[in-house]
């Protein structure tokens, strides 16, 4: 059976209390938004969601990867190819980026389904991530949040089958961001809702019901994006859907996650779905599209994975608005030097297995695992006799550490460790951890992050993160 065989998600742990955006003191449990930090972006979040999605699956079976976002750093250079390398997929994989619209995530999901149904691909990983920025102090800033979601679409034992789809296109200047612009613009929000959102969603759902012969009452749960909480409720009312069948849109917990918004809600809906449940999903942007899904018995085999609930629970509240501005480079404090050529592309190319796939090597002579790849063994000095081994999915422990206050960061100090991974020693930064929580022997896992922007381009590597408590 063809359908969604696995899901994953990522919500950044940094949570900015909305009260700080209006200069008030935050209260415990008050509304907040999830914000990607200075070493995160749409790609790093999508890779994290993808790793969660692929847990328990052989990456060699993936022959397609689609990446959906409105916020990728390049106009010419593909994010899906980068994600494929970070996820250590094979070279024979079809890669495609979907962009330009908040609908991109569900469009990618639809295309994956079509490819597998047509037999042109066997197993497609769909990633949706977005990291949109609004002008500091604007209403959109309070509205936006950052997140990513991932789906595996294949012919196998799906946890949900997509059996209905309807999309409508609309040309409308409601929200937009021009080439090279940092901030999203919006026309008056009442126009966006009344002329854009409500009519398009009505048409998308209406068309879906007509095609499938189903009515709103046939669906156990509705998961759909919205410009804001109020318009989200308005859709429910117009469909006659009671509040207990609405998937929480997570305003005040995550925020409007752009192209990742509806996909994230679908992942959340599946986390609490029961066999036989019907789900209705809708996504808005340049029109709207709606999907109908049926949850299968296989949903009960879904293990506890790193989905929406898992990430929502893991919070590291941001202490001040100023820290957030620094993390997103929204308050330049020094003359910005023009970007030079940046890192050498040839060195980067030679080191891509080390840096992007986080692969080390195992000596066939003494079995020692070491990093990075090198021609002479660190331990027994044997030459050119190694197997490549992936370190990213292993855990390790901290051997020693320091707190570097000198290195520029929005949030000093930078915690730097030497960590050991099955015998290999790696000099690596530690995130999601405070100096007080750092200790020799701390168990760590590894996360894909943007290290810096040398040359005006994002440069990626890995960092350590404490293994979360179960």
């Amino acid at each position: 059976m063809i359908g969604i065989t696995s899901t994953g998600a990522y919500v950044p742990p940094a949570r900015l209390p909305l009260a700080l955006l209006s200069g008030r003191t935050p209260r415990e449990g008050g509304p907040e938004k999830a914000v990607a930090w200075n070493d995160e972006d749409a790609v790093t979040m999508a890779v994290a969601a993808g790793r969660a999605c692929l847990a328990g699956f052989d990456p060699a079976t993936v022959d397609g990867i689609f990446f959906a976002s409105t916020t990728w750093a390049f106009r010419e250079k593909q994010a899906a190819a980068l994600c494929a390398r970070a996820l250590d997929l094979g070279r024979d994989v079809q890669t495609a980026d979907f962009g330009g619209s908040l609908r991109a995530g569900t469009s990618a999901l639809r295309s994956a389904l079509d490819a597998v149904t047509a037999g042109s691909l066997r197993c497609v990983l769909v990633l949706a991530g977005d990291c949109r920025t609004a002008a500091p102090g604007s209403p959109l800033e309070m509205n936006f949040g950052d997140a990513a979601a991932a789906f595996l679409v294949a012919d196998g034992e799906p946890i949900a089958v997509i059996d209905g789809f309807h999309s409508v296109a609309d040309e409308l200047l409601d929200l937009w961001r021009g080439e090279g612009e940092p901030f999203v613009h919006s026309w008056e929000d009442r126009f966006v809702v009344q002329e854009g959102y409500l009519p398009n969603l009505a048409q998308a759902f209406g068309g879906l019901f007509e095609r499938t012969g189903l009515a709103a009452a046939d669906f156990a749960r509705f998961a759909y994006s919205a410009p804001d909480a109020r318009s989200h409720v308005a859709v429910a009312r117009s469909l006659g859907v009671p509040p207990d069948r609405l998937q929480n849109p997570l305003f005040g917990r995550v925020g409007n996650a752009g192209a990742a918004f509806a996909p994230l809600l679908l992942v959340a809906a599946l986390e609490s779905a029961a066999p036989g449940d019907r789900l209705a999903v809708a996504n808005y942007g340049d029109g709207a599209e709606a999907l109908a899904l049926v949850v299968t018995d296989s949903i009960e085999k879904q293990d506890d994975r790193r989905g929406v609930a898992w990430h929502l629970a893991r919070r590291r509240p941001v202490a001040s608005y100023d820290r957030y501005l620094k993390a997103r480079s929204l308050n330049p404090t020094e003359w910005q030097a023009p970007p030079g050529p940046g890192l050498s592309a040839t060195i980067h190319h030679r080191e891509r297995d080390d840096d992007l796939s986080f692969r080390g090597q195992q000596c066939r002579g003494c079995q020692a695992i070491q990093f990075p790849a090198q021609r002479v063994c660190e331990t027994c000095f044997r030459k050119d006799d190694f197997d490549s081994v992936r370190l990213a999915d292993r855990t390790g422990q901290v051997v020693t550490y320091t707190f570097d206050y000198f290195f520029p960061t929005p949030d000093p100090p930078t915690i730097v460790t030497v960590s050991e991974i099955d015998g290999a020693r790696v000099h690596i930064q530690l995130v999601n951890c405070s100096p007080e929580e750092t200790r020799i022997g701390l168990p760590v896992e590894f996360v894909f992050r943007r290290i810096h922007q040398s040359g005006g381009r994002p440069n990626y590597y890995w960092k350590a993160s404490p293994v979360p408590a179960a």
């Binding site: 890192l343 060195i347 980067h348 080191e351 080390d354 840096d355 020692a368 070491q370 990093f371 990075p372 660190e378 331990t379 051997v399 020693t400 550490y401 320091t402 707190f403 570097d404 206050y405 000198f406 290195f407 520029p408 100090p413 930078t414 730097v416 030497v418 050991e420 015998g423 290999a424 020693r425 790696v426 000099h427 930064q429 100096p435 020799i440 290290i451 810096h452 040398s454 440069n459 990626y460 590597y461």
Partner: protein, 387 residues
């Protein structure tokens, strides 16, 4: 790992003249200015009045120079065999070592060694923050050299106070060296309360980067009396490489291997079996306070883990049994990377000759200088002695 079976070049090479310019923020001096100051002082010290005739070859040590060996030969108008040596913080000792080897093998009779650097021309207070790759960041020396702290403190019950005492000692000694950069006493509280650089190093745990140059004239031992009667002999010199501690699977972060291995080599070559009693004075690479502390142990001045007791007892003070960093060390004399090893040769020569003024150590017979640099991945040690 090290070959300790050969006597090396013991007693074959003599130091007959030393010079050192003022270390500091030498805004008004070019590298050539400093090279000339240091070299001509060494010439005068060696009674050399016609260097173009009397110097056979030049070895220069520098890390930051972009101009190659020509920078030195042009400054001094020495159209001679010249080699530029670079080896991170071990550069000065390595340049000296190359000069010593060239005389010991019989290729040259009289050689000038000049170490120099002008890190202050880069426009930053400390080391530049490098972004030349994605791995191993931050590439900050304070971040590298502090990695032994968590492990050493935990195992041996040491703490920031022990490091602070080293900083206090070196600040005091620096006030007695006319050419030092900083002449300011500090207290343990000053050190503990200073701005944090990379834990556990606060500002006073870190050496001052400065401009500077130092020079030495060395000859075959049988020619030394033509220059000075109180010449000093080179007993041993080495520069040893070690694995990068950040990826070495067998690193315990309680000592730095390059120092341990280099010490084995020089003690064997110099015929030293009990360094803590035989070494009379030592200049030890205090790029950071913990580096000096670990070096006491890695050089065999005391047992591993016992440094804090010896620091507290004053063994390494100017008035103690084994004075370390008698001119204030990197900490207060300053640290122009290429010059530091040669500045240590300068200070040890003065100490052995009884010319160290207010900071003179009583009757040293053997003097040791120690440089360690890179991650750290290279250590240079030289041992000088009286004939």
């Amino acid at each position: 790992m090290s070959d300790t079976s050969r006597p090396g070049i013991r007693d074959q090479v003599a130091i007959v003249g030393v010079g050192c310019c003022k270390f500091g923020e030498n805004w008004d001096q070019s590298p050539s200015d400093m090279i000339v100051d240091a070299a001509y002082e060494a010439y005068a010290d060696a009674g050399i009045d016609d260097p173009q005739q009397q110097i056979d070859a030049v070895f220069t040590g520098t890390l930051y120079s972009q101009k190659g060996p020509h920078e030195c030969s042009d400054a001094l108008k020495l159209w001679k065999p010249v080699t530029m040596v670079t080896n991170y913080c071990a550069t000065g000792t390595d340049a000296f070592r190359c000069g010593v080897m060239s005389i010991a093998c019989g290729m040259y009779d009289r050689v000038l060694v000049v170490g120099y650097d002008k890190p202050k021309d880069r426009g930053v207070s400390g080391p530049s923050v490098l972004l030349d790759g994605v791995r191993d960041l931050p590439k900050t020396p304070a971040g590298w050299f502090s990695l032994c702290a968590a492990t050493y403190f935990e195992k041996y019950g040491a703490g920031r106070e022990d490091l602070a005492r080293i900083a206090v000692k070196n600040h005091h000694n620096g006030t007695l060296a006319p050419k030092s950069f900083l002449k300011r006493e500090i207290t343990v509280e000053d050190a503990l309360n200073a701005r944090m650089i990379s834990w556990p190093f606060g500002l006073y745990d870190c050496a001052a980067q400065t401009d500077g140059a130092a020079a030495a004239v060395i000859t075959r031992t049988d020619l030394a009396r033509n220059h000075r009667d109180d010449y000093v002999l080179v007993k041993a010199v080495t520069v040893n490489a070690g694995p990068n501690p950040q990826k070495d699977p067998a690193n315990d972060f309680l000592s730095w291997k390059p120092t341990v291995w280099a010490a084995e080599v020089v003690y064997a070559q110099a015929g030293i079996s009990d360094p803590r009693r035989e070494i009379g004075v030592a200049q030890v690479h205090d790029c950071f306070s913990l580096t000096e502390l670990l070096s006491y142990e890695d050089l065999g001045f005391c047992e591993k883990g016992s440094a804090k007791e010896h620091i507290a007892s004053g063994r390494f003070e100017l008035t103690g049994e084994l004075p370390v960093n008698t001119d204030g060390g990197l900490k207060t004399f300053g640290h122009p990377t290429g010059a530091t090893g040669v500045r240590m040769i300068y200070e040890n020569t003065l100490q052995l000759q009884g010319r160290a003024g207010e900071r003179q150590v009583k009757d040293p017979k053997l003097a040791l200088s120690h440089n360690i640099g890179g991650h750290p991945t290279a250590c240079g040690i030289a041992i000088l002695g009286l004939p």
